[in-house]
Structures are given as C-alpha cells and as structure tokens.
Symmetry: C2
Subunit: 275 residues, 2 copies
C-alpha cells in the first residue's frame, strides 16, 4: 500500500508544510520507502519530481520541502511496492498528455493482476498495476471523446470518469488522485480523507512531525484550499473520511461534483475479484 | 535560439561536470535565461527536471549540479524564448509516451509559424513551435507503426525518423535531440557538435567555467560515451561539427546510423519557408 496527498486551491499556494508531514511517511513515521513523487501544476504546465529513494532521506525531497513551489493543483505519492520493483519507471504520479493537457495519476491500493486491454492506446512504461489502470482510464477517455479537438469541461468528464473508475475498482482497491491541472478527481475504495480550509485559517499542527504553522498570515481572505490525504496530515482540523465508492471532483479548492457507487467494495489485502 | 546537450553511454554515467558548464550558458556565459530542463533515463524510466528560472541561478539546477544522477541517456536544454512565453509548459525537454516508452525531445532553432496538423493525436500543452514539431513527429511515428504493440527497434525507426525530421526542417532550423531511453536521435540544421570519449580518457577543461576534470579515474576501460552540444563544452577534446542536414543515431555511446539530407538548409534568423 502507498499513501496519497493532493491539493486543489483557488490561488497558487505552496505545500511545503503539508509535504513535510507527508514525506515523513516515506521512511520515518511509516514504512513507505520505495520511492515517492510529486506533481505541481503551473497553469497547464506540469513539473513532476520523483525519486526511488525513501522520501524521508531523499535529497530531492529535502529540496522540495525547502523550496516552495506555488501551484493550484498538487498530486503526491509515497510508495510501498506491492507490484513492480523499485525503479524510476514505477514511481507515481504517472503522466500522459491528452488533448493538450498533461494528466497525472497517483494510486493507493492493489488491483491484482489487472491488465490493460491490448487495444489501449496508452501503454505502461513500468510494471505496476497502477500504471496499467491509468493507461486503461486514459484510453477509455480518449475513446469516449474521440472526435474532440478541445478537452471537455470537468462537468462533462466527471460522469465518464466516475463510470471508468467504478469499473476499475471492481478489480481491487483504487484510492486515486487524477488531475489535468484544473480539476482534481478523487476516488476512495478504502482510505482517503479531505479537509477544506478557508478564512479564518487555523493554526495547524502536523501529525508526523513536531511542527505547527499559523495558516492565517499565509493566506488571503478569499483563499480556499482542499487537501486530500490517505490519513489526515494535521491535528485539530476537521478532516472528513471519504466513503468506499465515493468519487469527488474539486475545482479551485472546492468540491463541485460527487458520485457514490454502492457496488464498490473495499477489498481485504489479499482478496481481489478474479475478473 | 536555445542550446542543447545530450549524452549516450554504454554504462550509467553522471553528467554533473558537463551540466556545470552547460548550465552556465543559462545566464552566466550566455543569455539563455528563459528556463531549462534535463531528462535522465534510468532504464526506460525517465525523470525530467525543469524550471522557468535561468539555469545559472536556479536552485534546482544547483541541485542537479551537486547530485550526480547516473544515466545512460541524457537530454538537456537551456532556453532563450523566441516563441511562447516563459512558463513551465514551454520548458524543454517535452515528453510523450508511445508503445510503453517515454520519448523526450529538445529543440534549438525556430520553425516559424509551423502548426501541427489537426489530425495529430499528440497535442501541445504549451505554445512553442518546438512542442508543435514534437507532436507532429510523434503522431507521424504512431501512424507509421499503427498496428504495433511493441516498440520497433532503432534500426527500423531511424529511416522513418530521418524522413519526418527532413520534412520538419523545411519549415526552419531544427537542431534536435530525441530519445526513448535506448537510442539518441539527433539532427543538425545549423549548430551541433559531438565528441566520443573512450579509453584512455582525457583530462577535460570546461569552456564555460574554470574547472577541469580527469575523466580517467571516473570511467572503466570499456566505457564509451558520446556527448552532444550546440557548442563544444570542453577545451582540448576533438569535438566534431555536424553538417546541415545530418541525422545521426547513437546507442550505448556509439554512432550506429547516419543519414545526410542534401536538401536541408540552414535558415538565417528571420528567414523561413512559408509552407
């Protein structure tokens, strides 16, 4: 299993505080030592930092903790390998371009021997079930909107993605974060939490480090930010637990769409559907 | 105009010395201040570092200079914007996945108002002629090999790429580096140099910095490495100048294929074909 962190905001914001707590799970407060990655969107441009070293020791993670990169959407992952060996090609988030947008995807869970159909236009570079699921998802989206020259709006995409994600989640646990730099699409099979911050901003204390931050002076009155994480990153904030089968969409820091699939189930570690 | 640096090696090698000289061109010894990027292949996994700050000042470039990342193929770029504003989406190298390989592309030159055909499957995220050329190239390659499920060998790809690159170079200057992590494909319209290093390895002195390095102790007897750069990076090494219209392929540090297109021309800065 791995851990996820995501952020959606209506203004460009740094996530150094949150990433400090999150990256501690890559070796210090948790045993997710098989690599990590973080994607920052700057407009539709996307910069991905990845390393196959534990996030708590990695000099590149140290760089990311110490150099604020302002962004409106962030997708991050610390890896504990269940499938695929420890190598750069298996580090999340994965990325693909579709209709002039860079899509990134990070996954927590285990989809067993799930294989992408041979007809997929997107093919995995590495050897993880996660990248195979992402390739399947992107290929189905391409197919659904195959005559478009412009990317569809999130409102048109959301129900299509909810269907695809529902299908993928029949193979095993699919906790995921997906973005094109504008909307952040999330799905919960077993573990995902969210908190939305707005004025008045609290003083937040990290779960994983002895560190507090008064978020008030760092934010303007109109700022709205939603953070997502496998497990809450801070103490004293009202983190919500997503339900099994919930699919949500966030734009500019706020939830804009939600779907619940009652057929989605949470799989025990070794139990998966043979489909 | 921009500057390019590429490396192909038969063993994983660090390029910190070369990148130290090269990145000085991003603001200190040359005015390529509009961003930079470098792609390192680890097997078929590809890590890209990019920044829209000048390479000579960028803390991330400092990180890359100080933390050796061993790789068999490297593609790097410092940017002086001629088209497209200064933003992350316009930083080279660009990347796309095709048949389970990550392809990266970096370009020096100016292709004018060149537009990718609307039928392209790959679409640009940013606003540069370079990314439009890369999208066209990848879409033509996809089309040529459209029924494949496995990537073709370099020997099958090389003549196809040479044709496509010859077509693109009719629109303006196309000095480029392209790789899938195995082969490094290069084309020269105006400026590209190469040097191949093997035993006995020389002591090399950088052109752009007061820095020398004895390459002998860093390399084993069987190591072979080819470096490519817009302008030679070192003094005292036998850099070769590529001709206008030359397309070469390097695998494991050695040239394996070459094509010369006598119709390719070098364009003056403001002169381009209206095609």
């Amino acid at each position: 299993m791995c851990q996820l962190m995501g952020m959606s905001c209506n203004n460009r914001a740094a996530t150094t505080f949150s990433f400090t707590g999150f990256s501690a799970r890559g070796g210090r407060t948790s045993d997710h030592v098989d690599g990590w990655g973080i994607a920052f969107y700057d407009g539709y441009g996307c910069r991905v930092f990845q390393d196959d070293q534990p996030a708590s020791d990695s000099p590149l993670a140290e760089y990311v903790r110490n150099h604020p990169i302002k962004s409106r959407v962030v997708v991050a992952h610390v890896r504990k390998a269940t499938q695929g060996d420890v190598q750069a090609a298996n580090c999340h988030p994965f990325q693909r371009e579709w209709l002039g947008r860079t899509w990134v995807f990070a996954h927590n869970g285990d989809l067993g021997r799930f294989e992408a159909p041979l007809t997929c236009q997107d093919m995995p570079v590495g050897t993880t079930d996660s990248e195979r699921a992402f390739c399947t998802l992107m290929s189905r989206v391409r197919q659904h909107f195959k005559n478009r020259h412009q990317p569809p709006e999130w409102s048109e995409l959301a129900p299509v993605l909810a269907d695809i994600v529902g299908d993928l989640a029949r193979h095993g646990n699919l906790n995921m974060l997906l973005s094109d730099g504008h909307a952040l699409y999330v799905h919960c099979s077993t573990h995902l939490h969210q908190v939305t911050r707005h004025h008045p901003f609290p003083k937040a204390r990290l779960v994983d480090c002895d560190m507090s931050l008064d978020l008030g002076p760092l934010n303007a009155e109109g700022d709205v930010m939603t953070l997502l994480a496998t497990e809450p990153l801070t103490i004293d904030e009202p983190w919500q637990t997503l339900r099994t089968g919930e699919f949500r969409v966030y734009v500019d820091g706020q939830e804009v769409w939600r779907h619940f699939n009652p057929q989605t189930q949470a799989f025990a570690a070794a139990e998966r559907m043979a489909l």
